[in-house]
């Protein structure tokens, strides 16, 4: 259906986009003279940044897409547990991962100390890209899986009767149609790679964020702001490229079920296990060793509650705000632009963004350093995670269903609430999960904007890591993963049941 009247989501989406872009506007006001970003040395840095981003995207897609197919289509026992375990790396800050990798591998590393096996050192571009890919592939996994689940995959069976093998059928019949979902996840991985500081620093790779960080730490806030804005030019390019990825609209249909034999299940498990081992088990094991060596002290369970509570609030608010933005993005060019604007903040290094949010928060002195403002800051920072997931699912809804509801007498609003919303639930859940996990590991905004004395798992982890008391990172690290897994389980059970229950009490 072609609509002539202005899409109803525009005013709200416009307002949200405006608020989301405010921190970037604050950066502009903080700008002073910056060192020349294109000196020969910085050109090398720029190249490193772009290569790291490209390798991260490549790695996260190579890991994330097969895992999405696996978790969406293959009927293995304990399917949901697999999904939860595979999405869990999203909860661990990548600097923690990078640090444990660095400590575990190489001569004199923990692996050699423990087993006597010598392993090659993990650092530089390869190490950074590996760690980044391991901690960003869940972006691709979750967005791609959401698209796969709402895709009519019966054509796979058609392709197989035409003589294509199953992998080839997936490759040629399914994947081209979920390019949107893959691209949405890859975009997030790219932005993460662009804005993360910890991983390249620990892997001793010079990237743009490091230049920014040096300026920031040398009290050159204005220079750091300027460089961050320059970094945004790469972000803008990536955003543009991602928006060029288009797949034709199609109707949702029956999903695919693949029943592996027992042997195949074991083989799949063997293929997937190394990823979980590397991304989750290794850091926890290394922390475990240190825990055993140093002992844990000073940890309070309240930190875990603080983390989960704030993350849950932020996830809820983010998905509520993401819905109109996603809707606007599908309604026209102006809406598309609004949606793109919400992504900008995600590409700014966290500590610079945190300071920009401090300036913004100080405009509301009553709310400054309250939980409400902290949640708002999380939402501003991570809104694109929710928007991307909601949009890629909404795009798959048959517009005829809304028409049907309206001819039955439902207003635009009611049709949205009772048809579009429940059918978008998968995307909303995936988006909420992404925000939840990302908030769980968020650091700078939590440190600067949380209520005074508000300690979360991430801030505690950072505190002990910074001071070199690594053993104490084990308990919060484990809890971080545990709570994130719990959150994922809750959300996934919502995904399974969500369709039915929304509607019972909603009658005329």
């Amino acid at each position: 259906m072609r609509v002539r009247w202005p899409p109803p989501s525009y005013p709200l989406a416009g307002l949200i986009a405006l608020v989301a872009v405010l921190p970037v506007v604050v950066l502009v006001t903080l700008v002073g003279d910056a060192p020349d970003p294109f000196s020969p040395y910085n050109l090398k840095v720029l190249l490193n940044t772009v290569v790291l981003m490209a390798l991260t995207v490549l790695g996260s897609v190579l890991i994330g897409v097969p895992l999405a197919l696996l978790t969406a289509y293959v009927e293995v026992p304990w399917r949901r547990v697999w999904l939860v375990a595979l999405a869990a790396p999203l909860a661990l800050p990548s600097y923690i991962g990078a640090f444990t990798f660095y400590a575990a591998f190489g001569p004199g590393g923990e692996i050699e100390t423990l087993t006597g096996l010598s392993t090659p050192s993990l650092d530089g571009m390869f190490g950074a890209a590996l760690v980044m890919a391991l901690y960003t592939y869940p972006f691709v996994l979750l967005t791609t899986r959401a698209s796969l689940c709402s895709l009519d995959a019966s054509q796979v069976n058609a392709a197989r009767t035409l003589g294509l093998s199953l992998p080839m059928s997936l490759w040629r019949v399914v994947l081209p149609r979920v390019r949107n979902g893959i691209a949405a996840g890859a975009l997030l991985a790219a932005m993460y790679a662009l804005s993360d500081f910890g991983t390249p620093a620990i892997m001793r790779l010079d990237t743009f964020t490091r230049v920014i960080f040096v300026e920031y730490n040398a009290f050159g806030l204005s220079q750091a702001a300027m460089l961050s804005l320059q970094l945004l030019s790469i972000v803008g390019l990536v955003l543009y490229l991602e928006s060029r990825v288009k797949t034709p609209h199609e109707l949702p249909g029956r999903s695919l079920s693949i029943w592996p034999s027992r042997r195949q299940s074991v083989a799949l498990f063997a293929a997937v296990a190394p990823i979980v081992l590397l991304a989750i088990a290794l850091p926890l094991a290394v922390f475990g060793i240190w825990l055993w060596r140093d002992g844990a002290e000073g940890f309070e369970l309240a930190y875990a509650w603080n983390s989960a509570y704030a993350a849950l609030l932020a996830a809820l608010v983010a998905v509520v705000l993401a819905v109109p933005v996603a809707h606007a993005a599908m309604s026209g060019r102006a809406g598309r632009l609004m949606e793109r604007l919400t992504y900008l903040g995600f590409g700014v290094p966290g500590i610079v963004m945190g300071t920009a949010l401090v300036y913004l928060g100080l405009k509301l002195p009553l709310l400054y350093q309250t939980l409400a403002l902290l949640v708002l800051a999380y939402v501003l920072r991570f809104l694109p995670l929710a928007v991307g997931a909601v949009r890629s699912t909404s795009e798959r809804i048959d517009p005829k269903l809304v028409n049907a509801a309206r001819t039955l007498g439902a207003s635009r609003g009611e049709a949205f609430r009772r048809i579009t919303l429940p059918l978008t639930l998968r995307g909303i859940v995936a988006g909420g999960a992404l925000v939840f996990l990302e908030v769980m590991r968020e650091l700078p905004a939590t440190l600067l904007l949380g209520p005074t004395g508000y300690e979360t798992l991430a801030t505690y982890l950072w505190r002990v890591y910074e001071a070199g008391y690594f053993g104490r990172a084990a308990v919060p690290g484990l809890l971080l993963i545990l709570i994130s897994a719990l959150g994922l389980v809750l959300m996934l059970s919502g995904e399974a049941r969500g369709g039915r229950s929304v509607l019972e009490d909603n009658r005329r």
Partner: protein
């Protein structure tokens, strides 16, 4: 509720899709809108339902007048619609679909029973067969007690054996509900058999609206004549209520109020008699024959040019190339069109 459509026009961007549409519908009449693919049938339904904005003209629904400037949203129109692929809500059960906006379960139960859906009450749409989906879609629309029903090719995704049964089920259900209905189809047999009125569309314009017999027997133009059935045109001269052709004379009337002496006479396959002829006799020879069960259809290439189709009893079997004698054998006056 009475529906009156006046000078309706709908465009997609700069492309006009429907132009100068006029018709009236009342009582419990079923209007069959028929036409080739892409002629604007579905667009008309969407415009009446309020799902696309109209560009010009008026739609009068009962005492409510809708124009290009005063749009009424679809949910305010009390119109029921059955979509081509049914548009059942995949996340709701059959009963929840049918009772989508109803607080009272009585109509839900009524239509579940009436259409034999009771055993499927809790089923999800994905588990239903095509015919079952069709019935659910119909029940959903009717249970909401619309003042007007719109059906968009309701039988197109059913298999042939089911089509005939469901066709009459729908008609009976509509008659029971007692509301006027617009039923879009591209199948002329469906259009002629079910409708109280038939409207033939071509390229966004309505060619003729009339009872089925009238449309078939007195088509307003050659397009309507050809679209609704096998039509052959035999050249001849018209005068005094009689048309003279190489195949004999027959009572005839001019289509519309045209006046002409040189005409093409519309001849249906059943209007002709065919007999075997020897090599030097007859008006033409058989180019092919098709066995249809109770009957047999021949195409005969005429000596004077052109061809006609003739339907005869199946017992007579003639090979291609056979010379034949043709005679017009019509008791009702045939329709004549001015020679182009």
């Amino acid at each position: 509720m009475k529906l009156e459509v006046r000078d309706l026009g709908v465009s997609y961007g700069a492309t006009p899709v429907v132009r100068d549409l006029n018709f009236t519908l009342d009582g419990d009449d079923i209007l069959m809108l028929v036409g080739p693919t892409g002629c604007g049938k579905t667009t008309i339904l969407q415009a009446v339902a309020g799902l696309v904005p109209i560009e010009c003209g008026q739609i009068q629904l009962g005492d409510r007048r809708i124009g290009a400037a005063d749009h009424v949203p679809p949910e305010k129109r009390h119109i029921g619609m059955v979509f081509q692929d049914f548009a059942l809500f995949p996340h709701l059960s059959v009963a929840q679909n049918i009772g989508f906006r109803l607080s009272n379960q009585a109509p839900v139960n009524h239509w579940l029973n009436r259409l034999g859906l009771e055993p499927l009450r809790e089923a999800r749409p994905e588990r239903l067969s095509g015919g079952q989906k069709q019935r659910v879609a119909l029940a959903r629309a009717l249970a909401h007690e619309p003042s007007l029903m719109l059906l968009d090719e309701p039988l197109s995704s059913l298999d042939a054996s089911l089509k005939d049964v469901v066709r009459w089920e729908i008609r009976d259900a509509l008659k029971e509900a007692g509301v006027p209905a617009i039923w879009v189809t591209h199948d002329q047999a469906e259009a002629l058999s079910v409708g109280d009125q038939v409207g033939v569309l071509n390229a966004g314009r309505l060619q003729q609206v009339a009872p089925p017999e009238h449309c078939f027997g007195r088509p307003a133009n050659r397009f309507v004549a050809g679209f609704l059935g096998e039509a052959s045109f035999v050249p001849g001269q018209f005068g005094g209520g009689v048309a003279k052709t190489a195949l004999g004379s027959a009572p005839a009337m001019m289509a519309d109020s045209d006046v002409a002496t040189e005409v093409d006479l519309l001849v249906r396959p059943d209007d002709l008699e065919l007999t075997q002829a020897s090599a030097s006799q007859g008006q033409g020879e058989i180019s092919w024959s098709r066995y249809e069960g109770g009957t047999r259809l021949y195409r005969v290439a005429l000596d004077e040019g052109g061809s006609v189709r003739v339907r005869v009893n199946h017992e007579q079997s003639l090979p291609p190339g056979q010379r034949v004698v043709l005679r017009i054998n019509a008791t009702e006056p045939l329709t004549a069109f001015p020679r182009a």
